[in-house]
Amino acid sequence: MRAVVKDGMGIFTPQGFLDGNNSASFLSIEDIEATTKLNADMILVSLKKVVFFNRNGLDAFVKMFMRVRSASHATVGFCDYNEKKFKAIGNFYKDDLNFSLFLTQEVASLFASSFKNQSKNVLLYSEDKSQRAAMAIELHDNGHNPIITQTYEEFQEKAKAENAYDVIIENTYLGQMGQQVATRVTGNAIIYTVSSFLDTEIGSTFNIAYHNNSLNVGFRLFIFDAYKVVSMNVHALNFFSKLASSSAEYNATICFVGMTFEKTPIEFKETLEDSGIMFFEQMDDILQNKELLNELGASSAASVKNKRAINKVMVTELPNFIDATVATIEMMTNSQAIKEAAKVDKIEISDKENKIASSIGFYGDMDGMVMLVFPVEIAKKACELLIGEETDDIEMILDTLAELVNIVGGKVKTLLSEQGINVDITLPRTYPNVDALLEIAQDKKGVQVDLSFSGDNFLFFLTR
């Protein structure tokens, strides 16, 4: 069984009965190995569809948790259970509970380092005082507003208030949390949060694959939120110097915010500045300064100096990219997708109203990016199989479009590998409007193909 990964969370969903006889069958050695390489911030096992489990049944998953955590520093645990199941797990593992328990996947997402939604009002209760404090700190660190209740009566009373809280947390336990460097996206900048002592560990806690993916999909500004950093040693200094050099190849900028040098040699700052890293006192010094943001490349790809043209290899492989897109749309809609027209030029979108887009990058033997632009209604139609219900929730539609473009990326990877070309795909990215896409794509030359299915048009753009 494999985990489904979304927004940095890998979820296993076993069904039925979990006991000592069958739990190992859910997870082969290959499954565990694949999970350690997922680059997910959280690996969770949902108990939503499990009607019965005992300790032996959970043990196989707990062993997997330990392997994953030591390999990738991800947060691990169970989620989607009721109070009875929560108490049962607590009894099974009593003093040995070193994984987390999240009431729901939504609750878990609040603690995920690559969280998307911030500033949630969260009502919080745990019998354990230290757990209450730990959860509140984590939630606060992740940009939420935790409201802690000291007694169960107070919690019940407050929980009655309708629409007062975005999320209500109970029956949740924070085990050892992931030690990965927390990541979040603000506009076109990526913010990494680092804290305490920066030493050789940074090499394993910093998700370099995510960073490289972000460079590949067009991010150019990376900010290290270093308010809580106590000190940095020479190993960390080397790490950040190398990171700055490799990012410079993409014309990307790395900044540190809030870093003090009371316990770190001031020479380190000079070394880091020499390698291109910039220092700021406050986050707002960057984020509220549009001129500076433009200069640093966070608002437009126009600052990318080395614009790369599509090359012969890419044009040769173009049919594979088109085929992957066409096959995915056909698979998702059961209707035939037709190629209408193709041209090599800058992206041209005639009518920008009510359109959304998604992109996925690929890198390896060849590199580039596939972009798909849909009218919102057509995107809904293309994603009908995954959405399954009528919705105007634009967040949900964008999320599903990301899944669709992820499938396109997967197909591209397969089709290219059949010809001996090995590529990896990046995380998908979505754009709520055409302007957001054009910030990345407007000056890039590429192949634009107008496609249609069931008479509805959408746009495919392949670029580097």
Binding site: T13, Q15, V51, N334, L385, E403, G410
Partner: protein, 265 residues
Amino acid sequence: MITKDKIDTYIEKIPPSSKVLQVTIKLLNDGELAKAAQIASQDLALSAYLKDLVNKPIYGFKTEVKDINQIFGILGVAKSQQTVYNYMITLLSPAKWKLFQLNKTSFSNLQAELSASWQKILKHLHTEDKELESAIALLPASIIVSEALFSEKIEDVNLLRSVHSIDLNTILQRLCNVDLFDICEQIANKWEMSPEIAQIVQAASGVKPSEDEKLNMLGKWMHLLLFYTLSQPAYIEAELNDFIEFQIEYVGDIYDDFAMLMEIS
């Protein structure tokens, strides 16, 4: 991926039940075990299936049982009818399984295990009706239909399921407005099985409760039994555990009773 036309073609290709099977079922319906055995013996494949089944360890016979008359005698009317239906379902199974890691033996074991547990359940519910006993035979048809429709699309299915948690039944429903259990019902109709059988199996999908309280209750037990059986290591490894979605709330009111009957602790 899967079109309505493909489903229609698949159903069209399902052969009607043979004369021998029709007569055997009719005689079993009339309680004519000896005559039914005589007719059934004419179908060598059916005879081999019956011998293979009744000599499985689950039946616990010390010496090999070979005679069809004796087999029908051991099984009794209701179970004999159920076994003939089980045999009919195996006629639809592929020569080589691709989507699920099954083979002739493991599929037949699955049928036998479901049948034995179903009999236990009906006894527990004090329900004696040969049509109801036979209903379990149709349930594994949903697995065969999944294999037939999705085996050529394994890569697409895997890619889809790697980014989105979705079961085969839902994929089919959303693409074609027809689900695996509708197709099972059509098979049941084609083979002139009792309408009650199809209704129970539809309810056993977990997403289409029956309006008939009794049939709905049996559907719940069958849904839970399916996941109890598919939680066995062999079937998890065969990748059957999540081919349809387990509706845990649907079976909430019978779980304790089920757990007691199956001695789950």
